[in-house]
Subunit: 481 residues, 2 copies
C-alpha cells in the first residue's frame, strides 16, 4: 500500500510558500476528528477563569489551558473553550494511544490494594499480559511503582544494595552496618554514587535530582550528593553525515566516564551504577550512537557498576521500537530499565542479580494501570502501531529535513527515531513564539533543551497527521521568516 | 442510643476464659458479612500457587496472601481460597471506608492527564470538594502527588526553597546559585538539613529515607545525608497516669531538639524544616502529648525552621478527628501537612508562604483519585463516621485495658486515639505468633515497632466489630498464656 512510501513532497524554495504535501488521504480512524478547529485564542476565557479559580488552591504557573477530556479523541485534544488541537505533545509524552478510553476498561478502578502484601488474584496474570510481555532483552522481572521518580529512586536503591552485597561477598549486614544506618552514617549508609550525564533528566525527588542536570530550575535550593557527572556527546546531525567527528566526540565522553569512575573510587565514593537515557529528552533531544552505548555498557561491566537505562520518556513505542535501547541491537543492553509515562504505571525491569527484597512501599503502583496497559499493548500489536510509528516518523523527519533546507537561518539539526523527533530553532524566543503560533493554529507542540522543539505524538499519529502538522508548521515558519 | 455507651464487659480473671462482650447487636450495614469464615489455613493452596507464579516475576517476600477483592465487603477481606477475615489492618491503613466500591464511581478512570499543565475542567471543583474541604487549620493550598514518598520529598523541597528565599531576602537566585546547582554543589545545592526523630517513618525514597529511622532494613546500603536526628519521647501509658514522668521525658527531647538545631547551624548545615508524625506509626505507635507538639511548633518558629506534620498514616479520620494534629487544639498547627494512604492520593497542604512554583512533575497525582476521595468524604460526613470512630475507639481501648489487666505478663501499654490503637506484646516472637493465630481465626492484624500490634480498621468499624475482634483476640491470648 502507498502508506509504506515516503511521501514525495513538492519542494518549495520561495520564502513564505506554504509547505504542500500530497497526503490528504486520511486513514481510517473511528471517532477521530477531521482536523483542528479553533474558536478562541489559547488559553480562552473559560481556561483563564478556571486558572484563576485553581490559582486560589495551588500553583498554576505551568498550566497552559484546561481540557475537555470527554470531547478529546484520537490525536485531538479539545480544550474547555471548544478549541480542538492536533496533539503532538501528549501530556509530556505520557499518553500512549488516544485521549479517550475504550468503555470496556471502565471496570473496578477504585480499589487501591497494597500490592506488596495483598495483591489481587489476577495480578500475576495481568503483569504477564502487560509489563512482562514487553520486557527488555535479558530481563524477566519487573517492579511497579507509582511514578517515574519513584521508579528511578527505587532502581538506584536496588543498585546500591546489589553493590554493597557484592562488596560484602554475601547478603548479611554486620552489626555495625545495622546500627550506623539508623543514624545516616557509613558503613550502613555507604558513600556510594551514581554516575549521570550533563543534560540528563531522571526525576525530581532528591535521589533522582542528584542525577538530573537539564535545567537549573529543577535543582536550585535542594541539597544534593557529590556524585560524578560526565559529558553527554554533543553530536552533529544528521548523524550519518558526521560519522568521524561524532565518533571522536563520543570517544572523548567515554574517556571522561572512565576517568570519573576512577576518581570517585579514589575519593572513597565508588560508582555503584551509571544512569543514562537512550535519547536525552528534557535536555534537548540529544542522541548518541549505538556504538557509544555499547562501549558505555562495557565500561560499566569492566568497573563493576550497574547499568541503568532510563526509558521513562523514550519507552513505549515512540521511537519505532518498543524500547529505544532496542536500536542498539544488544542481547544484554542493561541491568535495569525504568519506565513510566506511556506505560501508565511507573516501575523498573531488572536482571535477576539486582533483585532487592528490600524494595517496598505501601502501594507499589496501582493495578488498575496494569489492566489498562494490557489493553493498550493489545491495540499496539493488533494495529501494528510500531510499524506505523516507523512510517510516520520517516515522513516526519523527511519533512523536517526539507523545511530545514528551506529555512536554514531558522532551523537546524532535525533528528529523531520513529516519531520521537526534534529540531533546533534559531533562538529560545523564536522557539517559544513558534510553539504559541502553532497552538493558535491548532497544533500542540512542546519545547526541550535550550532552543529545541520536540515532537511527541501518540502511537496512532499516521502519515495523514504528519502532513497536517507539516502544513501548519510551514505556515508558522513562513510567518516568522 | 446504647451505641454511645462503653460496653460493660464481664470481667474474666480465669486463664483461658473466653473474653465475653455483650455486643452481639449488629448495626445495619448493607452487603456486609456476618463474621469471619475460614476454609483453609492462610495462605491457602491457591495463594501459595499464585505466590509461586508471581515469584517468577518479582519479589514476593512480603506477600501474605492473594485477595479476592470482588468478594471482599465492608470490614471483611476475602482471600483467593475463600477465607473471609475481619480486616483490622486495611492495606497498611490505606483503605478509608470499604474494600469494594460504589458503582457510581466507575466512570472515566483511565485517562491520566499531566495535571500541572493540562488539567481537566472539573479539577478545581473536585479539589474543592475533596482535599480542600478537609484542609487543616490555616491552610488553603494543596499539591497532589502520586504517593506518600513523593509527597514528603516535594514537601521537603518546598521547605528548602522557602528557607533559601528567606536567606536571600528575595526569590531571585544569583548566577553562582544557577551554575553551581547544575553540578550538585553549594550554594545552588545548599547544605541544608531536615531534623527528624528516631523511630520516625517518612518514606523510602532517598530524601525521605534520610529522615526515616524506624527499621534498619529500610535504610541499609542506601547513601544518606548528615542531618540531625532527635529522640522522640518514650512515654508511659496510660498517659493520664504518668503525667509528671512523661512531661519530664518530653522536656528532655525538646531540649535535645534545640541543641541539635544550634549544632547543625554551627556546622554550616542549618535546619530548614522539622518533620514529625503526630503518632509514630511504623516506629511502634509512639504517642506524645499536645503540649509536646505545641512546644515543638514554637521551637521551629523561634529558629526559623518550617514545621512539617506527616499525616500519611494518621490522617483521614482513624484517630476520631480528620487529622490527628487536630487533637493538639492549635489554630496554626503546621506549615506543611502531608498525606496519602486513606486519602487515596498523595500530596501536601501548605501555608501560603511555602508556595513553591518549582514543585512539578508529569502526573502530579491522579485526578481519578480525587473523584473517589470526594465520594469517600461525602460518606464520612453523611454517616458521621468520625463520631463512630471515636465511639468504636473508646470501646476498643477499654477492651484492651481489660485484657491487659487480665494478662499482665503478656500485654502492656495499651494506647490509642480513635481506633488508631496499639498494644505491646511480651516479645517479638509472641507478637508474631499472635498475629498469625488471629489470622487463622479470621482476624487480620498488623505489627509495628519492635513488639507492638497496631490496630488500623476502616472508618466503618463499628462497636459490633470491636467486640467480635476482642472475642477472637481473647481466645488467641488464652491459648498463648
Amino acid at each position: 500500500p502507498d502508506s509504506l512510501m515516503i511521501s514525495p513532497y513538492i519542494p518549495c524554495s520561495q520564502t513564505g510558500c506554504r509547505y504542500v504535501s500530497k497526503a490528504a488521504a486520511k486513514t481510517q480512524m473511528e471517532f477521530e476528528y477531521d482536523g483542528p478547529s479553533m474558536k478562541t485564542e489559547v488559553p480562552g476565557p473559560r481556561s483563564k477563569e478556571l486558572t484563576k479559580q485553581l490559582g486560589e488552591m495551588q500553583n498554576v504557573g505551568a498550566i497552559n489551558f484546561f481540557c475537555n477530556y470527554e470531547e478529546s479523541r484520537g490525536n485531538y485534544l479539545v480544550d474547555v473553550d471548544g478549541n480542538r488541537m492536533l496533539d503532538v505533545y501528549t501530556q509530556i509524552s505520557s499518553i500512549p494511544i488516544v485521549q479517550t478510553s475504550p468503555p470496556s476498561l471502565l471496570s473496578a478502578f477504585v480499589n487501591r490494594p497494597a500490592l506488596g502484601i495483598m495483591p489481587p488474584e489476577n495480578f500475576p496474570e495481568k503483569l504477564s499480559e502487560s509489563l512482562l510481555s514487553v520486557a527488555p532483552s535479558g530481563m524477566s522481572r519487573v517492579q511497579t511503582m507509582a511514578c517515574g521518580s519513584c521508579s528511578n529512586e527505587n532502581a538506584y536503591k536496588a543498585m546500591f544494595i546489589w553493590y554493597r552485597n557484592k562488596e560484602r561477598g554475601h547478603n548479611i549486614p554486620s552489626d555495625e552496618d545495622m546500627s550506623s544506618c539508623m543514624i545516616n552514617q557509613s558503613p550502613g549508609c555507604p558513600d556510594l554514587s551514581i554516575l549521570s550525564f550533563m543534560g540528563g533528566f531522571h526525576g525530581r525527588t532528591m535521589g533522582c535530582l542528584a542525577t538530573t542536570h537539564s535545567k537549573a530550575i529543577h535543582k536550585l535550593d535542594v541539597p544534593s550528593f557529590d556524585w560524578p557527572i560526565a559529558p553527554f556527546p554533543k553530536l552533529k546531525y544528521p548523524l550519518e553525515e558526521f560519522k568521524r567527528e561524532n565518533a571522536q566526540e563520543e570517544a572523548r565522553c567515554l574517556e571522561e566516564v572512565e576517568d570519573l569512575i576512577v576518581q570517585w573510587r579514589q575519593k572513597g565514593r565508588p560508582v555503584a551504577g551509571i544512569v543514562i537515557e537512550p535519547i536525552q529528552a528534557e535536555g534537548g533531544d540529544n542522541h548518541a550512537t549505538p556504538d557509544f552505548f555499547k562501549k558505555l555498557r562495557n565500561i560499566a561491566r569492566k568497573h563493576g557498576s550497574a547499568f541503568h537505562v532510563d526509558e521513562v520518556q523514550t519507552g513505549g513505542g515512540a521511537t519505532g521500537k518498543f524500547w529505544a535501547h532496542e536500536h542498539w541491537g544488544m542481547d544484554d543492553p542493561a541491568d535495569i530499565v525504568s519506565f513510566s509515562k506511556k506505560m501508565l504505571t511507573g516501575g523498573f525491569y531488572h536482571k535477576d542479580e539486582l533483585q532487592a527484597y528490600r524494595i517496598f512501599n505501601t502501594w507499589m503502583g496501582d493495578p488498575s494501570k496494569n489492566l489498562f496497559l494490557a489493553e493498550v499493548l493489545n491495540v499496539i500489536r493488533r494495529e501494528n502501531l510500531l510499524e506505523e510509528v516507523t512510517r510516520s516518523g520517516k515522513t516526519l523527519l523527511q519533512g523536517l529535513y526539507q523545511l530545514q533546507d528551506q529555512y536554514p537561518n531558522m532551523l537546524s539539526s532535525a533528528r529523531g527515531q520513529g516519531t520521537f523527533c526534534a529540531i533546533d530553532i534559531r533562538d529560545d524566543a523564536t522557539r517559544n513564539s513558534i510553539i504559541l503560533k502553532a497552538r493558535d493554529k491548532g497544533v500542540l507542540l512542546g519545547g526541550c533543551g535550550e532552543r529545541s522543539i520536540r515532537f511527541r505524538p501518540a502511537l496512532v499519529f499516521k502519515e495523514y497527521h504528519v502532513h497536517m502538522f507539516l502544513n501548519v508548521f510551514s505556515d508558522v515558519l513562513a510567518e516568522h521568516n
